[in-house]
């Protein structure tokens, strides 16, 4: 059997709607594991996973680590500071060294667009993109889709607007592809200086005013204003940004319907989103975080070659005889990609 997702998860753009639905459907059973007293199943026992983080991250790294540990994988965290990377080692050398230690998977976060792709072409281990530059953050996109689907039942025909710094946002790209593939209508709203020049060619509606976006949408995914990427002076001030584009209670109250509010975190309260919205009744921001662990468990499981139809069984305890618990630790049936050299 070949893995249903192929060797790697690098982006949502190349996935089929069926593959995305498969991940979301697989995440369902895994959600329940995190609700138990003993949050552990033996599914990935014997697998070794490296979390390779070249960029600071708390939420994503912890979420991946929980997902790995709850599946009983052995994990190692490598961060850019305190590693050979800070001594000038190249990405490809870092990767080859890790692979020489016979690892099964790499979860990579990197500031360069395409870094995960680069790694995946050069090593045989499965590669999961945990955010590459301003390209994609596929597991974030998946957890957003799962959260929206939980509330709406389906994404078909739903109107979702992504608000803020789309230009620099990998979350935005993963959301746009994922939502469109599942049949949603996608809008984007932000100052034009923070939207890609070719944004309309991405197949989305563009809203210049947040009021119009709120009137149109059924859900808002409010992006973090990437303060660290703002050196180029794309907007005059945070104060004006909040006044013109901030998602505030007053603006939401004028909407013709209640809007679901998502935010990938970490939030700049009082900039892109006001606290009473973030903490309000329609905010699903913490559900996103919970879903993040389940979605990442699903991705790990599917990339490791776990048969989708056995995901339900895989969540059983160590006593349950599933195909997963007994599979060969290194997944000899995994589809190997185009590893070179």
């Amino acid at each position: 059997m070949t893995a249903p997702l192929g060797k790697d998860l690098l982006a949502l753009e190349p996935l089929t709607p069926e593959q995305i639905r498969l991940i979301l459907d697989t995440a369902g059973p895994f959600k329940e594991i995190s609700e138990r007293a003993i949050k552990k199943v033996p599914t990935l026992r014997g697998s070794t996973i490296v979390n390779l983080f070249f960029e600071a991250s708390t939420r994503t790294r912890v979420s991946f680590e929980f997902a790995e540990k709850r599946l009983s994988a052995d994990t190692v965290n490598v961060t850019a500071s305190g590693s050979s990377v800070s001594k000038g080692e190249t990405l490809v050398d870092t990767a080859r060294n890790l692979e020489a230690m016979r690892i099964d998977m790499v979860v990579i976060r990197h500031s360069a667009s395409g870094a995960a792709h680069f790694l995946a072409e050069r090593i045989e281990s499965n590669v999961i993109n945990a955010g590459d530059g301003t390209h994609e953050h596929p597991t974030q996109g998946l957890l957003d889709l799962l959260t929206l689907r939980d509330h709406f039942g389906t994404l078909e025909g739903k109107r979702v607007c992504i608000c803020g710094d789309v230009l620099h946002s990998r979350v935005a790209r993963s959301n746009i592809w994922g939502l469109k593939k599942l049949g949603a209508e996608v809008g984007v709203c932000g100052p034009r200086s923070l939207l890609p020049n070719a944004v309309a060619e991405l197949g989305v509606q563009v809203f210049d005013r947040i009021e119009a976006a709120i009137e149109w949408a059924e859900a808002l995914n409010v992006l973090r204003l990437q303060l660290e990427r703002m050196q180029g002076g794309y907007i005059p001030s945070l104060r004006e940004y909040n006044r013109v584009f901030g998602v505030t209670r007053e603006r939401l109250e004028r909407a013709p319907r209640d809007l679901l509010i998502l935010h990938p975190g970490p939030m700049n309260r009082g900039v892109e989103i006001d606290s009473d919205v973030a903490d309000g009744p329609h905010s699903v921001i913490l559900e996103q975080v919970t879903n993040g662990v389940a979605v990442r468990m699903a991705v790990l499981y599917l990339l490791a070659g776990g048969p989708p139809e056995l995901a339900e069984a895989a969540k059983g305890g160590a006593d349950r005889e599933s195909g997963i618990g007994n599979r060969e630790p290194l997944g000899g049936n995994r589809e190997r990609g185009t590893g070179k050299r």
Partner: protein, 451 residues
């Protein structure tokens, strides 16, 4: 002008046929195409004493035993190709390319002369450095190497380099290529000052505040890949600036590696007004689009970047109608490791000397956009006249710089077989059309293909 040098004084490669060199050579029975004389006829081209001697169209002419006869039947005999834009990396990065390996790669690609850009380490911005490049070129004994001097000291965009002394030492043009001339004042002064010496000022058109940090063309592909884009306007703003400054000063501006449709329109505007503007296009901008970057392919990363299909079409048309005067390679070798990295961090540039003819054949001649005489004009006659270099003609008495090629033969690009040290080619694995069979510089055969 310090043209008409005879630099072929160095030793040849061991094992190569050199003895017949300065004797008489007959290129027999080829299709001789020389746009400088509007010749396109089958016959024998006779070379002697390093010069073009005669062209015999009568079949079956007899030659003495001391004459070396090269059978050219079925092949095209052309004035040698001239590349006015390449990076030979010496001094400074001899690990990546040397003048010798670059000149040899040029010969393999059918170039009998190349112009070496001055962005070396240290920068070629003075007469001693120009003399060094010239001497290394002579020692290489392959294609002629003409140095280009820097516009500004250290290419820092501030103080003018000594054009007069550099020209005296053999420089054929000035350029800060690799870096834009950000200051309009400096560009104006360079154009004025260069008039004294009759040399073109070759500019790398890039408005730096728009292009900074960019890794590819700005458009839908950059939006999808999350890479910072370089808008077409970064080039076009400088194109029109340079054209206007050429109008103001009467200087000759040569615009390097044009990549956008807008640039073509602006050059056309300038030429219609009689402004002294010439322009070049690179084989990659005539053949590939930004789609090559998909998958973060660093061998598709160069500056200016690959653009859209519309741009490629406009550049092709401009080469056809002469708005763009000539084809130049922007040959830019890099070390394997340097390209083997994250896209945004990888250096710009690809090698081009050994694929230029075959790329132009495949993408312009084969589809019927240009014919062979036009190709030869854009790769030989026009570069020679634009930069006032020897060659570019098969007229009797011209230097015997000749390229013989098989226009129909297909081959598969294998960068491991390049004579250049560089392997960074976006055409690896492509099947191209057109093989250089023989390259002759000053009457001496410096390259001959097997088979």
């Amino acid at each position: 002008m310090s043209g008409n040098r005879e630099p072929m004084s160095g030793n040849g490669e061991p094992g190569r046929e050199n003895r017949a060199a300065l004797g008489r050579v007959v290129l027999r029975g080829g299709r001789v195409i020389d746009p400088s004389q509007r010749i396109d006829a089958t016959g024998d081209l006779v070379l002697g004493d390093g010069k073009i001697d005669s062209f015999e169209t009568a079949a079956g002419a007899k030659y003495g035993d001391d004459v070396r006869v090269v059978d050219c039947s079925g092949l095209v005999v052309s004035p040698g190709f001239i590349d006015v834009h390449c990076h030979l990396r010496e001094p400074g990065r001899e690990d990546v390319e040397t003048i010798a390996t670059g000149a040899r790669a040029a010969a393999v690609g059918g170039f009998t002369a190349v112009c070496a850009m001055p962005n070396t380490q240290p920068v070629t911005d003075n007469q001693a450095a120009v003399g060094f490049v010239l001497r290394q070129g002579q020692a290489a004994s392959a294609a002629r190497v003409h140095p280009i001097g820097a516009i500004s000291l250290g290419q820092e965009g501030r103080a003018l380099a000594e054009f007069g002394e550099m020209v005296g030492a053999g420089a054929v043009a000035v350029s800060d290529d690799g870096r834009p001339v950000a200051s309009a004042h400096l560009m104006r002064t360079a154009l004025e000052y260069a008039r004294t010496f009759g040399i073109p000022v070759a500019d790398h058109c890039e408005e730096p505040t728009l292009a900074t940090g960019g890794a590819m063309n700005e458009g839908i592909v950059s939006a999808r890949l999350g890479l910072k884009g370089i808008p077409a306007e970064a080039e076009e703003i400088m194109v029109i600036r340079d054209i206007l400054l050429a109008r103001r000063t009467g200087g000759h501006v040569h615009l390097c590696h044009m990549s956008t449709k807008g640039s073509v329109e602006l050059i056309r505007w300038g030429k219609e007004r009689g402004i002294r503007v010439t322009a070049e296009a690179c084989p990659h901008h005539l053949s590939l689009t930004e789609d090559e970057v998909n998958g973060y392919n660093t061998n598709a990363k160069m500056n200016p970047p690959l653009r859209t299909a519309d741009d490629v079409e406009a550049i092709r048309e401009a080469v056809r109608d002469g708005t763009i005067d000539l084809v130049a390679t922007d040959h830019a070798p890099h070390h394997y490791d340097e390209k083997e990295r994250e896209f945004a961090d990888a250096p710009n540039g690809i090698v081009g000397l050994e694929t230029a003819l075959a790329v132009v054949m495949k993408w312009l001649v084969k589809p019927g956009i240009i014919d062979l005489p036009t190709l030869i004009d854009r790769m030989s006659v026009s570069p020679a006249s634009t930069f006032k270099l020897p060659g570019g003609s098969l007229r009797r008495g011209s230097v015997a710089d000749v390229t013989v090629f098989d226009p129909g033969r297909e081959w598969k690009v294998d960068p491991a077989r390049f004579a250049s040290k560089g392997r960074n080619s976006p055409y690896a694995g492509h099947t191209l059309q057109g093989v250089v069979m023989c390259t002759i510089v000053g009457g001496r055969i410096v390259h001959q293909a097997a088979g």
